[in-house]
Amino acid sequence: DQQVKQNSPSLSVQEGRISILNCDYTNSMFDYFLWYKKYPAEGPTFLISISSIKDKNEDGRFTVFLNKSAKHLSLHIVPSQPGDSAVYFCAANDNAGNMLTFGGGTRLMVKT
């Protein structure tokens, strides 16, 4: 039973527009959330994170929003660029901090 779900396997966005990637989780013990970006033939790279004590974290073009009551988080990319085309994974850590649980990933395609 997947504890972290990304229900959209793919997303296509026009260059310059906003990309919104969504993630839902079921385990209320998760208290730290991360987004990773993955290009083909490379390992995932850390993008941005958020603690459960916050509802928003921003880093340049990337913003992560956390809605704890809905057990939902989202990654906003504004403006989207062709180099953002990749697979994005949502991940969650419980308060023991020993392991990350990943979602299935969303493939983002930014069109020129």
Binding site: G43, F46, N93, M99, T101, F102, G104
Partner: protein
């Protein structure tokens, strides 16, 4: 990625043969992880280590064993490879949780 290397990068092996994948880090991190990536499943944890000779199972540990005799090396062994173990395997290391995990470039394993 800087500080973490995986070997080999690619391997083709026959069903029933043993296979060992190696992960080497130069960051002196305590935590090391083995994940596998499969379409639709994202990244799933196989085993992890929280110190020399200290390991624990992850979500999909059946058919895999690990060893960590030195801080810098974490080995993943498939005792008798099966076709269901065809996958891309990623090693990761973790320092501070706020910095996320750092992943290696992956090993593409094909079992024929």
């Amino acid at each position: 990625d800087a500080g973490i290397t995986q070997s080999p990068r690619h391997k083709v092996t026959e069903t029933g043969t043993p296979v060992t994948l190696r992960c080497h880090q130069t960051e002196n991190h305590r935590y090391m992880y083995w994940y596998r990536q499969d379409p639709g499943h994202g990244l799933r944890l196989i085993h992890y280590s929280y110190g020399v000779k200290d390991t624990d199972k992850g979500e999909v540990s059946d058919g895999y064993s690990v060893s960590r005799s030195k801080t810098e090396d974490f080995l993943l062994t498939l005792e008798s490879a099966t076709s269901s173990q065809t996958s891309v395997y990623f090693c990761a290391i973790r320092g501070r949780i706020v910095d996320g995990y750092t992943f290696g470039s992956g090993t593409r394993l094909t079992v024929v």
